[in-house]
Amino acid sequence: MGGGGSDVKNAVWMRAVLMAGMILGLAVVSYAGLGVVAANAKHDTWESEEAEYDIAKKKYSAAVENGTITSGDENESLFVAYGNAYNDKTDAHLSYLTYRVAGLAILFVGIIFAAFLSISGIMNSSRADEEHDEHHGHDEHEHHGSASPIIFSFGCLLFLLGFPDFADGLHGLMMGSTKGTIGDMSISMIGLTVVTVGVANWWREDLPFNGYGEQLATSDPFAGQHIRKAGIWVFLMSEVMVFATFFSSYLRMRTEWCTKWALDDGKCSLESGESVVLTASDYLRPSGAKLDKFGESVGDFWTMLPGAVNTFALIISSYTIVLALKVAKSHDYKVPSGPLGKLMPTKKAAIRNYLIITLALGTMFIVLKLVEWSHLIAEGFTIGTEQGSIFYVATGAHGVHVFAGLLVMLYMIFKADTVEWNEDNAQGIEYFGLYWHFVDLAWVVIFPAFYLY
């Protein structure tokens, strides 16, 4: 951190607690609406569709046994009814999963957002006002070391140590399976708590920093450049290597698989009894190779929709963060005409609200991704296969990056109300924006490679 600090009073930190309450309230209401009321209604529909399916199946099987109709004759009304009942049952199941998982995902994300805000708010507002002055702000060029990243990293270590059990526990909670219980999530939850405390301390140290007095690098190759900007670029390039590893692993594995695509192209052949290797795109793409029991492709417009919406959501969120930076750097903010003017009445409100829109789009990305995963798992595309493993690890790692970005964004929204941003001190938004654009850029590669190819 550089200098240029200002005093942050307890009342400001209490706003974080207020924000936490609002987010938690919104998450609980969304969960009640989507995950309980709507999901229960969809569950009833699913059960009745299951009953209809059983009846249609019995009628069809009886007719085949009696010799009234030929097995698999597509012109027979009983076969058509059987097929339609199967489709209705499958659709009803996926529809139930959509609402249930969306509700739970919003609740889960909301609880984590609220935990970060409330722990930071309570920890920092409980300190005497004088203590906030103790370390900050009178030298334009002072520099502080911070122990927060070490605390944060230790929390990440604990979280990852307990992650396999955490995943089982989460699966048990979300899908109602007996594979794991909430107790399995304990080590990871302790890790998350340590992460939260580390982040809260980090926020306390950063909030008084209003962006003036950015430190400059003094030696080549970055001489004269902001140290933090050079740092974020080097960090992003290390992230490129992480995603390049996933991507090259996938490509290497893919060259070994006899997929429908490779088969049609004459690049491989199947022995009798073998079947093509099914990738995620075979479950999602219209005319994908995954067929249901009636020989129809399970992929269609609706299975592609969450991934497609997410692609647009990330592009739009990249633009909204650019708009937040543009407004922050503007000398003379002009209130937009029409309804947008009511949403952005002042420069401060405009920056904050553009960031809130970005947060909402990012949250939607996470929710839709989990919904899509639940559909894939329900249709049999699990992490237990090579194709599933690389798909869930790569897209999951991207999702974790989006989620980490959302937590930082939460802080930026909070900070937007305490700092007067202008052309000389808006670097915080710019540097965070670089990270967010990188996440978008990674999706530009992941989406076609894993969803469409």
């Binding site: 060259t255 219209p286 692609t311």
Partner: protein
């Protein structure tokens, strides 16, 4: 910064956003036309769309077009490793021994030990 360059009254960020949205429509739409195009053609479309979108995000949203060249050099640095990875994928592929052109393989014959 891009907000100072106006095209038809709108800054470069706005037009970049529009181009990205249009190309995303192409990207998502391509897979719905499998009956008209071969899968290889669709893959070609996806690569072109990816390059255009990558350029738009990197050059304008991440300011690499206007920023000092050192940032562009940093951004391109991992490309060397990515190319090495792609080369490794090619060489370790069973078809790599016979399927790759001579200029991108080691001299396989010189590696054969006669007993």
């Amino acid at each position: 910064m891009g907000e100072h360059k106006l095209i038809m009254g709108k800054d470069i960020y706005f037009w970049n956003f529009i181009v990205l949205m249009i190309f995303t429509f192409f990207e998502v739409g391509a897979v719905f036309f499998e009956e008209w195009f071969t899968l290889t053609t669709i893959w070609g479309i996806l690569i072109i769309v990816g390059i255009v979108k990558g350029f738009g995000i990197g050059a304008y949203f991440m300011h690499l077009w206007d920023d000092p060249r050192i940032y562009l050099r940093v951004a391109l640095f991992p490309t060397v490793f990515v190319l090495l990875m792609l080369w490794g994928i090619g060489l370790s592929n069973p078809e790599g021994v016979t399927g790759l052109p001579a200029w991108c393989t080691p001299n396989w014959d010189s590696l054969v030990t006669e007993r």
